[in-house]
């Protein structure tokens, strides 16, 4: 099957709009993706036909809603290659998934003398929770630096692991700023060589939407995803975990549904994954995420990757060749995903973003929630164009046009 972007685009209502008479060119999917009709339809099924709470009702609306909520869990497990739905905990977003692990694993088990290893390439979601836990518990936070070639510094990582104190590794799969695809197997093997007991969390927010991911093959303990970046709705994400890890963990948020029994004397926690889903869950959102997995699997994740790989090569080459443009990130399309950060000489990213908006082009400008990386790049902000299934080469010209216009407009 060829990747027919024109047909795909029709499924995305927001993309049907014009801005000042120009086609809307959405190049900000790394921040949040568009939502296809199929996902909106799935949520409508819930709101219009099965609107009831789940996990507790004995009437048919609730039974069917419960069945579909649990089916969404199984669907997501299948989508990411998790061995069992019991290892899938629905959260609000990947940020909460990571915090769950910070509270119920790291803060409960690690202390002075232990170290958590993360990297200078992380989104704040995979940095601040460890920083905060370190502050509170006396755990040491170690940070793998980034090399000039926009990859993690493997030698430095080895040195940080050498004393065997690293008991927890928190690593991004794909950088939201540089697009770098980290060689997870190699990096995890390094950590396990230094300490076979090391527990590994991977932030997959930028990977699962764009690459075929198989968490079982990666053999990680925890893997976080977020729905709104993978064609799904806002308000839902998930922690994918080895079920035995969840078994070992006390709950994080507590309340209804996550208990078996409650009295003044004793509370009996429910089994995972329910132990970690306190209160009424994101029901409509789970229906939507189910449909998003369907849409992506129908396109085929290998095909999605192939499409984006081709597109990112075209975009990166064009930007590298453009006057006054500097790209931050690997140029080899095999090593990168579709988030492309760049700077334009003499134009502040903010001004560039505003200019591009007037061309109907939506890009992100700022620190992209990756301040440690910005410090390393030596900039306050970058511009970032990012690609997804509904983007195509025809999105490149308006981007270049807007960049050139900004360069001329702001030339001092």
């Amino acid at each position: 099957m060829t990747f027919d972007v024109a047909t795909i685009r029709k499924q995305y209502p927001t993309l049907q709009q014009e801005v000042d008479g120009r086609r809307l060119v959405y190049l900000d999917s790394a921040a949040s993706s568009q939502t296809p009709e199929a996902v909106l339809d799935a949520m409508d099924v819930y709101y219009r036909r099965l609107r009831a709470n789940v996990e507790r009702g004995v009437y048919r609306l609730s039974e069917e809603a419960t069945g579909r909520y649990e089916a969404a869990r199984a669907r997501l497990a299948r989508f990411v290659g998790a061995p069992s739905p019991d290892g899938v905990v629905f959260t609000r977003n990947v940020t909460e998934a990571i915090n769950l692990v910070a509270y119920s694993w790291v803060r409960r088990r690690l202390g002075p003398g232990d170290a958590v290893l993360t990297t200078a390439m992380e989104h704040h979601a995979n940095f601040v929770p460890w920083w905060h836990a370190a502050q509170d518990t006396g755990v040491e936070l170690r940070i793998v630096p980034v090399r000039e070639d926009f990859h993690l510094d493997v030698e430095a990582m080895e040195a940080l692991l050498a004393d065997g104190k690293v008991r927890f590794l928190a690593l991004g799969h794909v950088s939201n700023v540089l697009g770098t695809i980290n060689p997870l197997r190699e990096l995890i093997a390094l950590a396990r060589a230094a300490n076979p007991e090391v527990v590994v969390l991977v932030d997959g927010a930028q990977a699962v939407p764009h690459l075929p991911v198989d968490v079982a093959a990666l053999d990680v303990d925890f893997y976080g995803i977020t729905g709104h970046k993978m064609l799904g709705p806002t308000g839902i994400g998930a922690l994918i975990a080895k079920p035995e890890r969840l078994e070992q963990m006390p709950p994080f948020l507590t309340g209804g549904s996550m208990i078996l029994d409650v009295s003044a004397e004793q509370v009996v926690w429910n089994h995972p994954p329910h132990r970690f889903e306190a209160g009424t869950p994101m029901i409509a959102e789970a229906f939507g995420l189910h449909a998003a997995c369907d849409v992506l699997d129908e396109l085929g994740m290998h095909e999605v990757r192939a499409h984006e790989r081709g597109l990112v090569a075209t975009f990166v080459d064009a930007l590298v060749a453009a006057d006054g443009v500097t790209v931050y990130g690997p140029t080899d399309p095999d090593q990168r995903s579709g988030a492309i950060s760049f700077a334009v000489d003499g134009v502040h990213p903010h001004d560039l973003g505003a200019m591009l908006d007037s061309y109907g082009v939506c890009i992100r400008v700022g620190h992209h929630c990756a301040k440690p990386l910005m410090r390393w790049l030596g900039v306050n902000a970058t511009a970032r164009a990012s690609l997804y299934v509904y983007n195509d080469v025809d999105d490149l010209a308006p981007l270049l046009e807007g960049i050139e216009a900004a360069r001329r407009f702001f030339a001092r």
């Binding site: 996990e55 507790r56 009702g57 004995v58 039974e63 419960t66 069945g67 549904s257 208990i259 078996l260 029994d261 009996v268 429910n270 089994h271 329910h274």
Partner: protein, 152 residues
Amino acid sequence: MDDLYQEIILDHYRRPKNRAPQLDGEDVHVHHSNPLCGDELDLRLRVRDGRIDGLVFDGEGCSISQASASAMTDAGLDRDLDDALALAEDFRQLMHGTPATRPDDLRDGVVFEGVARFPVRVKCALLGWMAVRDAIETYLAGASDHAVTYDD
């Protein structure tokens, strides 16, 4: 409604078999509960020569849970322990939509087939059968007491 509440089920509910708070010479007592529905079940087992020689239940719960426990005791009594374990597994499969391989041995247990279509009630129908399995395993492990709480 009619799929769920067959007349035989209601009979077991109204006139349960082997329902008693005590069992003379009991070897094992297990307590199983399902907090979602508030089903509670006490099951008592007496074993002689590797055979179920006494089996009584007591408890509180919905008609399905109580009737199924009643039917279970009826089908389980006088069986070898291994055989009873196998029969419990047959019933579990039935609740997950697989036709029973030993419908005759399940006796009235077969009429619970229709419950499989009501996921929330499957746990109720399973309660007695999971309890007898647990009681036998507890006995084989050399213990005399066990309590289990099910999630929803």
